[in-house]
């Protein structure tokens, strides 16, 4: 990043101007983020079932009750399973495809790249709908294709294990584009000199990858991992459109379970408490990955 020199001695007129310029944004963020969050914190320490009217008694044990809730534990397990699966698969597939697309001797690279980037900006809801159409047990094209080659035709979203696998596959279909784009941008900005030096030293393709590409790409890969992990921990849309958390509760993620406690059971206190627990999980996981990143850099 280009560092611009600061105005050396800021006249007080400019200092007030600077404050006036940030004021609308700061006030805006107070209104739309901080105030609602503080209110949610307040609600999370109260009993409040919306259908029973106004906010109820102060209740400091909401968090304890919620942490003992086996359904939240189930949702947490599903969320972690989903997050780890999609991040690992997307990084692996995305890095592989980015490496292929970075080879200048591959013709039509730009066409491939263009096609592979299409899913990235599609709304998650439409991605889920498309796959529901394709996977429909009676009307879907995928089961028809399977029947042609004599394979069994599962009811994809009705089986607990298959439903989770389906969500993972659809997420990989949707989000790998992002990894390809980011890692390819990283690859194209690697310095050529390192590769020339490696070539002079007689390094094989594998050695070049292991000793030049991988170490230089590590920071970019970690950034991509952090961004994807944060997003995957919040997964809601795909679950809503594909399975509604079912069959049973086998694909309920934390976000989806919170939504259910909030919007179906109308329990404001508990759902708010759970939302803060989810936030804590996200912050914790991000800090761990950032620590890994810092030690890797040293």
């Amino acid at each position: 990043m280009v560092k611009t020199p600061l105005f050396k001695s800021l006249p007080s007129r400019d200092r007030t101007a600077a404050k006036k310029l940030v004021a609308p944004a700061v006030i805006g963020i107070w209104i739309v983020i901080l105030f609602p969050l503080l209110y949610a914190l307040y609600v999370s320490f109260h009993d409040w079932i919306l259908s029973q009217g106004k906010i109820g008694e102060v209740n400091f044990s909401n968090y304890i009750t919620v942490l003992k809730d086996p359904l939240l534990l189930n949702a947490a397990k599903n969320t972690i399973l989903l997050t780890v699966s999609v991040v690992v698969l997307e990084i692996a597939i995305g890095f592989g495809l980015a490496l292929l697309l970075n080879n200048k001797r591959i013709r039509l690279r730009n066409l491939y790249l263009f096609i592979l980037l299409v899913p990235m900006l599609m709304p998650p809801i439409t991605v889920g709908l498309i796959w529901r159409l394709l996977l429909h047990p009676d009307l879907g094209i995928i089961n028809y294709m399977l029947s042609l080659v004599g394979l069994p035709q599962p009811i994809w979203l009705a089986d607990p294990v298959l439903a989770m696998i389906t969500i993972i596959i659809v997420d990989v279909w949707h989000e790998t584009s992002f990894i390809i784009l980011v890692l390819l941008a990283g690859l194209t900005s690697l310095p050529d000199e390192m590769y020339e030096a490696a070539m002079i030293d007689g390094a094989s393709a594998w050695q070049k990858f292991k000793f030049v590409t991988l170490p230089l790409m590590a920071p970019t890969i970690l950034v991509a991992t952090i961004i994807r992990m944060i997003a995957a921990l919040k997964t809601y849309d795909l679950v809503y459109i594909l399975t509604r958390g079912g069959p049973g509760i086998s694909t309920e993620t934390i976000s989806y379970y919170i939504y259910k406690v909030f919007f179906v059971f109308l329990d404001m206190g508990k759902s708010s408490a759970m939302a803060f627990i989810l936030l804590a999980i996200i912050i914790l996981m991000t800090l761990i990955l950032m620590r890994v990143m810092r030690t890797a850099e040293q």
Partner: protein, 275 residues
């Protein structure tokens, strides 16, 4: 000879992998486009009919039977206004932070940290508050909710843009007799325009795709496209053709807009952490 063979072998395998991956992306999308152009009879047929006369009936259905033009306009207005408001407020703040280090480093970092906030944590209190001030199911209500992610993003990404503009341009303008505000409006903003545009378009796309806020904060009056198509599935079973047509209508604007910002896509998507 052997080396050359091995090299070509590698290229061929690369092409095979890339072609398979491309087909995995393209075929589902093409299938939905195909279904959106089929009439009711053909859409449901398994084994599928491969060649048929395309019809626009499904598109007419979603606009005539369900008021998709209303949802489309709702999406357009809400996404557009939120991203413009975020751009105006956010660019001023970003300029101030970039030039004067206002509130450094806390203000800057707090913008980034909002990325970790799960939408469900915000939507609960926002829903409760909007019920009280009677902004539930109103356009301004959803616009305000969208500012919760548009605003921090805009500020954060534009700080980088303003920092990359040399101070000298501005100083020269001020020596020539511009006030700071004039320098900002006449010199800096025009130079920063590509950055402003790409941040605005990116916000628009985020808003257009957003589902959870829209699901909870909209009702009959303000339903947006993602909420409308999600409900299309449950109503009276599935009308495959209509769902497909609605999907195409929802995706199309995003694909077109992506062209506008393709150069800065990486920066936008990664919150500026990879350039």
């Amino acid at each position: 000879m052997l080396a050359k063979f091995r090299r070509n072998y590698g290229i061929t395998i690369s092409h095979i992998i890339l072609i398979i991956s491309s087909l995995a992306i393209l075929l589902p999308i093409l299938w939905v486009i195909r279904t959106s152009l089929a009439n009711r009879l053909i859409a449901y047929k398994i084994p599928p009919v491969w060649f048929f006369k395309p019809t626009l009936d499904n598109y007419l259905t979603i606009f005539a039977k369900y008021p998709f033009q209303e949802y489309f306009v709702n999406s357009l207005v809400i996404s557009g206004i939120a991203s413009i408001v975020a751009l105006i407020i956010g660019s001023l703040a970003a300029y101030s932070i970039a030039r004067f280090k206002t509130g450094d480093p806390w203000l800057r970092l707090s913008m980034l940290s909002t990325q970790m906030l799960p939408p469900i944590a915000l939507v609960i209190p926002i829903f409760l508050l909007m019920r009280v001030i009677q902004m539930w199911d109103t356009l301004p209500g959803l616009v305000l909710a969208y500012l919760s992610f548009n605003l921090p993003y805009t500020v954060w990404i534009l700080i980088g843009f303003f920092q990359s503009i040399p101070v000298e341009i501005e100083e020269a303008a001020m020596i020539d007799g511009c006030s700071r505000l004039q320098a900002l409006l006449r010199v800096i903003f025009p130079v920063a325009l590509p950055g402003l545009l790409s941040a605005g378009v990116f916000n628009f796309i985020l808003n257009w795709n957003e589902f959870l806020f829209a699901l909870i904060l909209t009702g009959r009056n303000t339903r947006t496209l993602p909420v409308a198509i999600a409900s299309l599935w449950t109503q009276q079973g599935v009308n495959i053709g209509a769902v497909s047509a609605a999907t195409v209508v929802t995706i199309l604007p995003v694909v077109i807009l992506t062209y506008v910002i393709q150069k800065s896509l990486v920066r936008n998507l990664t919150f500026g952490s990879v350039k």
